[in-house]
Amino acid sequence: MFNNHKHLIDISEYSDSELMTILQTAKAFSEVNERVIKKVPTLKGKTIVNMFNEPSTRTRSSFELAEKRLSADTLNFGGSSTSTVKGESLIDTVMTLDAYKIDCIVVRDKHAGAPHIVSQASPAVVIDAGDGKHGHPTQALLDLYSIWERKQSFEGLKVGVVGDIGHSRVCGSLIPALKIMGAEVTVVAPGTLLPPRPDVLGADHVAYCLDDVLPELDVVYMLRIQRERLEGAPFPSLREYHQLFGLTKKRERLMKPDAIVCHPGPINRGVEFDSYMPDHPERSVILDQVYAGICVRMAALYLLLGGADNGLAS
């Protein structure tokens, strides 16, 4: 229980001060992750199920490490090994898990809304680890953390989110989170990669040309072109996309001297980036984001799994 939040499913339910508390707690956990013994006994005796019904490597491994470093007991569950392939419904699976007396379920699913369904079927704390095209709140938290570490403040910060906005669950959490923190968000994409109503995501501006907006941006957030989710032909070729929307060494000259580059990973060199920009020593925070993933997930687990259920925790 964190203030009045039992779950972490929809990041827009959190206030700016609550998100800041999560970031500050993550900072405290960052110190734990720098130690020789990277483990604290905080969640000793708690059981956490990682229910990943869709392939995931970094989110899953980062949750698992976060749980282990907090001394929780973990159960990895999902994929082709589960009973869903034998015809069991999601709700029946969750009720079965509950019979094991678990404390938290981390849900990744290809269907938007699955974590919400799980939270209704189970008394456990539910954390959304990415659902369909809906959201990915812990990804947004680690993005906020990485930006906060470099920029110290979000107020008036100009953030451009570039690429496959329409297929991206990262956007579904990141854009609301940035807006809550006071940043100014521009989405940049060819029209075919935008959702029908880009304003619904809450972005302040929509741009169709990267070169036009690049000189203004403090943070350039590149999205992966999700080849597995592309339907129809949103652009003629990956090569053309790269030339128009790829962040390249040539395009870097347009950027502010202190602008940074983020990406949720996995990166496609040659599509959204050339081979140079992801490794840019000053600008790229891509590996910092990976590290931040452990810290913010430890913080979210700590804040949600601590305290009593009676709302007395303060």
Binding site: T21, Q24, T25, K27, A28, S30, E31, V32, R35, V36, I37, K39, V40, P41, T42, L43, L70, Y302, L303, G306, G307, A308, L312, A313, S314
Partner: protein, 194 residues
């Protein structure tokens, strides 16, 4: 931890300062100097006292001993009922291996905070020994923990709250005792000095 009304000031700024000076001398006397010595304060309040001790030792010996601060939020044994909304990062900028560490806290009460702090330090390495300095010992231990250096022993009732106020955060420096409204403490005492 419940509402409270001030009852009495047990220590004022001058007596706190005298007690800290004496503790600094005692630490140096017992160790015959400050070789291998390090001071670690428990946040919040203990870290402010730890800084004061380091300043005193500098006055006496002319040496800067390493100073660290320890947040024990992740080690608390009452995590199921109470979490700290504000967690401060532990900041121990030296290797604890082989060090003689003096742990500093403001009020010693049940001893549970100290148990957490011992766990937290052990996770950072293997000090040669750990000693405990507290400004006030108010009794009512729930664990076999005993301080090495004490500013003042204050017999108290479980229904009372004993708190250190520090100029840096509260605008005044004093140790105050007050009544806690009945019923706000259920079961064993909460962690921390109160």
């Amino acid at each position: 931890m419940g509402t409270s009304s001030p009852k009495a000031v047990i220590m004022d700024e001058i007596s706190i300062s005298r007690a800290m000076t004496r503790i600094a001398h005692e630490i140096l006397e017992r160790n015959e100097g400050c070789e291998n010595l390090a001071i670690v304060g428990i946040v919040t309040r203990g870290d402010l006292l730890a800084k004061q001790l380091v300043d005193e030792i500098r006055e006496i010996e002319g040496v800067d001993v390493p100073l660290g601060s320890l947040d024990i939020s992740f080690y608390r044994d009452d995590f199921a009922t109470h979490i700290s909304p504000e967690v401060h990062a532990t900041d121990i900028p030296f290797n604890v291996d082989g060090k003689r560490i003096v742990l500093v806290d403001d009020i010693l009460y049940t001893g549970r905070t100290i148990r957490c702090a011992l766990d937290a330090i052990m996770d950072l390495g293997r000090p040669s020994r750990i000693e405990l300095a507290v400004l006030v010992d108010r009794g009512h231990r729930e664990l076999p923990i005993s301080p090495d250096f004490v500013g003042k022993n204050v017999p108290s009732s479980r229904d009372e709250s004993v708190r250190l106020f520090c100029k840096e955060v509260d605008g005044r420096t004093s140790v105050e005792i007050s009544d806690v409204e009945p019923g706000s403490h259920v079961g064993s005492a909460p962690l921390g000095g109160e």
